[in-house]
């Protein structure tokens, strides 16, 4: 199923008129095709693809490769959001401004649902995008703060693999961490 045409945000890049590409320098115009686990093909600018350490290594080993790079563990939905993040990051590489970068990062996570964030973490980890992983991990930590154990499980979609006896024992053993030690 090659369904990249189904996604309007992707087609704009793919169907970019060739004349326009020709006016750009060869370096900046270079595009790389990346294929997600659900067989969508993303054509991204080389500078964006090089943000993914995993992909970068691939091209360091085979610089002239024109193959489509398979990303077997990356589904299209979180991947398109990861690309969105990396495009923003590149702007700050050319023009470093820590305050603006922080603002942009917090805007990025603010508008994402819990599910979006949780889905992006494995992708950021797999592609080895350290900055994104930091941003995502901080964001999910903020969202699970002051929440019950049950909430955190459903937030991450984690199955409780403790038996009820085991959990009761653990809660007893960790009772000290559930006591409120702060001032009221």
């Amino acid at each position: 199923m090659s369904s990249s045409a189904e996604n309007p945000t992707l087609t704009t890049e793919i169907t970019k008129p060739s004349t326009e590409i020709a006016t750009e320098t060869a370096q900046s115009a270079k595009k790389i095709n990346l294929k997600t686990s659900d067989d969508q093909i993303f054509e991204v600018e080389e500078s964006v693809a090089m943000e993914f350490a995993t992909v970068k290594s691939f091209f360091e080993d085979a610089p002239s490769s024109t193959d489509t790079v398979p990303l077997p563990n990356v589904p299209a939905k979180p991947f398109s959001q990861v690309i969105e993040f990396c495009k923003e990051q590149i702007k700050f590489k050319a023009n470093p401004d820590e305050t603006e970068k922080k603002k942009s990062n917090s805007e990025f996570v603010k508008e994402k649902t819990n599910e979006d964030l949780v889905e992006m973490i494995p992708v950021a980890n797999y592609l080895e995008i350290k900055d994104l992983l930091d941003v995502l991990n901080q964001a999910v930590a903020d969202r699970i703060q002051n929440r019950s154990v049950e909430y955190v499980r459903s937030f991450f979609g984690i199955d409780n693999d403790f038996t009820s006896e085991e959990e009761a024992l653990l809660r007893e053993e960790h009772a000290w961490a559930f006591e409120d030690v702060d001032e009221d």
Binding site: P72, N73, P75, Y126, A141, Q145, V149, G157, W176, A177
Partner: protein, 319 residues
């Protein structure tokens, strides 16, 4: 094969194999422990511990969390708090501690708190904050704290005497913030102010009464802020003579009645904020010291001066 090419080979393999290997996957449950540990490390320590009940994989994640912040320890929950800190330090794993921040009433627990600080130093702590109150006279810190090889940021806030060992070695310390402490002797205080890699030094409402001559000579110092304490100093007590020597500051702030004398010697400064307050008992002294201070910064680029001194002699000439 070097490490880099090994990493690259692993990455290539990651791209070629379609299987969900241990290096990634569709869901959070397949994530490697390091990533989950990273998430947990952003939580306050108490919440980090609570994640151990989530599932078997999460049971021990909190034990490697590097940031330990303990604020509390006021009655009536003081005992609970102190036991909590101790449990965390005993039960956590052998991994490094980055931040150790402790705010509590010390009371009779000096040696206990000292042990906690030593534990943090043994785990290569980088950032230490100690806000201690409610104990008798001076607090004796473990020697290792002032000989910690990894410490880069250090803040002490306590209304008591700061006992320092005779030899101090903090080779990585960049930021030092001393609040409300009473210094004891010239030599050890001077060592603390003249560390080789110190970049920022703030001395906030500290008591200089035991000091006579101190030189601040830190070759990498860029920011220096001194706020004198509000306590009025008896007339003609002289105060401490503080010489800022061979230091090239980007930022210098001095606030107070100049009950101590501050002068810059063979030093330069770019941006300076000086706020001089009047002390009716020592107007003449304040005026003379203001003159000396301003004379030393004559090469300043930007000067913000607030003067509340009646008997100002005259301002030195600025080129």
């Amino acid at each position: 094969m070097n490490a880099n090419s090994l990493i690259r080979k692993t990455r290539r393999k990651k791209l070629k194999t379609g299987k969900e290997t241990d290096c990634g996957g569709k869901s959070i449950s397949n994530l490697p422990e390091e990533v989950l540990e990273h998430i947990v490390s952003f939580l306050p320590i108490q919440e980090a511990i609570r994640t151990s009940i989530i599932s078997k994989k999460w049971l021990n994640l909190w034990k490697s969390t590097p940031n330990l912040t303990f604020y509390g320890g006021y009655s009536p929950k003081r005992k609970l708090f102190m036991d909590f800190v101790e449990r965390v330090l005993v039960l956590r794993g052998p991994s490094n501690i980055e931040k150790f921040r402790l705010l509590c009433e010390a009371k009779d627990d000096q040696s206990r708190i000292g042990t906690w600080i030593s534990a943090a130093v043994n785990r290569n702590v980088k950032d230490v904050y100690l806000g201690l109150s409610d104990f008798e006279s001076s607090f004796v810190f473990p020697r290792c704290l002032f000989n910690c090889k990894t410490l880069t940021e250090f803040e002490i806030d306590m209304l008591f005497t700061l006992k320092l060992p005779s030899s101090i070695s903090l080779p990585c310390l960049k930021i030092l913030n001393l609040r409300q402490v009473t210094f004891i002797n010239d030599q050890s205080t001077q060592q603390l102010f003249s560390l080789p890699n110190l970049v920022e030094l703030e001395i906030y409402e500290c008591n200089w009464k035991n000091l006579v001559w101190v030189t601040i000579c830190a070759p990498k110092l860029q920011q220096l802020a001194i706020y004198e304490s509000h306590e009025s100093t008896p007339a003609n007590s002289g105060g401490c003579h503080v010489r800022i020597f061979r230091t090239h500051l980007a930022y210098f702030r001095c606030w107070g009645t100049l009950s101590n004398e501050f002068c810059l010697d063979e030093s330069s400064v770019v941006e300076t904020y000086i706020s001089l307050l009047s002390d009716s008992d020592r107007q003449r002294e304040t005026a003379c010291r203001s003159y000396k201070l301003l004379e030393g910064i004559s090469s300043v680029k930007t000067l913000y001066l607030t003067i509340d001194v009646v008997d100002v002699c005259f301002l030195p000439l600025f080129p």
